[in-house]
Amino acid sequence: MNLIVLLLIPLITAVAVLLMRNANQVRWTALAGASIQFVAAFALLYFFNKERAAGNTLQMLFEQQYIWFPSWHISFHIGVDGISVAMILLTAFVVIAGVLVSWNVTKLTKEFYFQLILLSFGAYGFFISLDLFILFFFLEIAVIPKYLLIGIWGSGKKEYSANKLALMLMGGSALVLVGLLGLYFNTPERTFDLIKLSEIQISYEAQMICFPLLFVGFGVFTALFPFHTWVPDGHSSAPTAGSMFLAGISMKLGGYGCLRVATYLMPHGAKEYADIIIVLSSIAILYGAFATMMQKDLKYINAYSSVSHCGFVLLGIAMLTKTSMTGAVMQMVSHGLMTALFFAVIGMMYERTHTRQVNEMGGLLKTMPFISTVFFIVGLCSLGLPGLSGFVAEMTIFMGSWEHTDIFHRLATIAACLSIVVTAVYILRAVGRVAMGPIKDSFKDLPDARWNEKLAAVILILGIVAIGTAPFWLNDLISPATELIKQKIMLAQ
């Protein structure tokens, strides 16, 4: 399959959106583009599995390489392995749901959808790039749409949040940039090519400098403690689809970068710094969970719980076993789907009740059965109910972490496990207050979900259940790629 298709579809959609005359045409164009991309993502999965089943064991499939800036040895090099395919699937799910959920955005509709599509373009590009220069290019493309989405269509203290998000993410990418330049000048032939870089031995000293730069840089995107502070503000101020994209896609760019660029290319660095990252991510997991307990605003609840859940991703990566890294990728997919659904539901409730405060809601199950049921499901997924994706991913991470027998890793794992109890407390409390109990008079005549909202929720729930009930296909997709990373770490003695 030609991977350029994955870039062309959003690009054509974006241009088409700009050419449309009225809001309705814009919506349908965006939906058509997102649906085609959705099909393309599944086609990619199909062809990928077909190739693998046919015995193609190359690390990257569907590779293409075009020289872009020859004097800097920069080429437009793309290709996918199992991890990328999983992330592309996630992006396709979130994009189509996001487009559906924003159906009733009336302010500057055209610009809104243009920004959404541009953001997804950046994400697709990021996940397929095999040259660190274009990886960085796509990483930064995705920053400005987020800023505009929050700043123009957001709510609350949106300008402050938009600025904070843009500056912190740019700070992260500045660190990534310095790290990338460090890699570039520490290779004999001066290359940004991921495959070539993985084949040569980067000197120990260079790894000790570049690894923290790259890991922390990407870590800012995925809420690495203490650089998580943009997450609550950004998510709570963003419009619904903005939050979904932010938590569902954008935070995953960071996790993918930490795994694919930092850990894979610099195993020595990963080993040396693993303990620090484990401590930081354990703090993020526990701190995020406890901070969530204190929140009254539904969006803040989900934002802080995202900090906690993304902590699992980083924990899984830093544990450096094959199972834990597979779990980290699964957690990225699972959390992406789950949190997108969570924000979608919050958006639907807010649109009807005009409040996001847990205390002011109640009894919504009576007036909005569909929305409340979805809220139940996503809450259960978040607290790790077996049969849904959250359980599978977190379980895999814990199993991977338990392979370490020393007290330090055990303690970190136990601490992470404890957070699940806290999660159960805040999720059950929130779900109970919102959906159960007596209903307010003003909420009695509120309508339930419309077709577009139902469709978005069903698509995301299907994804969650598909992973939760049959995790093997995702595991089989990811684990050959994580196996390679593991081997590279084993070799680095």
Binding site: W68, F69, P70, S71, W72, F133, F137, F138, E140, I141, V143, I144, Y147, L148, G151, I152, K158, E159, A162, N163, A166, L167, M170, G171, A174, L175, L177, V178, L181, G182, Y184, F185, I209
Partner: protein
Amino acid sequence: MNEYLTIMKSELVLTAILFLLLFVKLGSRWKNESTLLMIQLLLLLNFLSGFFFNQNGSLFGGMFHTSALIVFQKNILSLAVYLISLLFADWLKKHEHLTEFFILMLSALLGMFFLLSSGNLLMFFLSLELATIPVAAMANFDLDKKISSESAMKMILSSAFSSGILLFGISLIYGATGTISFAELPALLNGSPLQILAFVFLFTAFAFKLSIVPFHFWTADVYEGAPMATTAFLSVVSKGSVAFIFISTLYTVFKPMDAIWYNMLMILSIATMIMGNLFALRQQSIKRFLAFSSIAQVGFILVGISSNSPEGLSSVIYFVLIYVFSNLAAFGVAAVISSRTGKERIDDYKGLYQTNPFLCWVMALALFSLAGIPPTAGFFGKLFLLTAGASRANYLFIGIAALNMIVSLYYYLRVIRSMFMEKNETPIGKIKPDMSTTLGLIICSVGVVLVGLLSWIYDYIVKLV
């Protein structure tokens, strides 16, 4: 004779245009609109003629030399001047001394052409003066505004001061080495204290022209007082030409003193980026804002220059090309608004997107490019400058530069925020820019988007280097 025609072609074409304009001024009773249209066409011809009949070589015993690279640099400047004539049409058309403005501007441009081609310090000094003094007169072109005269005064005083320093440096160099020829100097430079002193004076003169911290104090005042067209010319064409000659002098003439100027560049670059950024943070006037942002941009150019490698040279030229498009687009939008409404404060731009989406998008593209956000060309320009600078393995320096990109993003986003997000009870009304301004803005936007993505432009520069 034929040799003179081809080697000095750019200068001769420009001189011919200058004479033509003089006669137009004396003889005709044309309306401003038609005169401007004719000037725009002439400048377009001047830009296009830069691509044909070029010959490398030197004249007058090495005083004047040219090469494909120098011709390319001149073309960038010609392009910028053509764009200025398009973008500021709104203001120019209303001006009673339109022709004189262009006569002065083209004289300055002629000076810059000679500057780029200069082969010894005497020629260098003369052409630098020719490139500076007309600009001071141009700064005075808002005839009814006191602040404009003030800015012209500041400009002429500070440039006289820097010329004095430059002359002192040149005489010291002559005293230390016995020659002023660029070709003979490198062999005679051995890093003796007198030579270092002379070099420092020379460097200072460059620093004045490029407004490198701590020689930047004239910049903001001059930019604020001068008419927008002059400010744009100063910040794009003047800066660009001086950056070109600065880098070529450092890389060829003063190559033996590399170890000395590397440290100077590094310290000044950090100071320039930080000071420019910090002062830009709190500016309200869009002109002062762009003035400090251009100071910060020069800091980035210095990062590229510090690499002392062919990559450094090519990335600086590339960056200046991108800077022409992005900065002129920003100035162009500001000029249209200023000439129609008289508003030049960033707070006045609040709610502009409701009334003028086109202007807002052009401004946003320009500012994103200045901030170095993909997919605009500024991203590639900045990244290549930093990559070139990183070849010296000085990661702290590169790290500081990268962090400065975040600070600069903050103030560029401030303008974006004003335009797109904030509300205003009395927003600027709908503005319909005239044909040539629109054309100029479209050319700039296309340049901002495509110069980065089309890699052959950069490759072309690399081949020239």
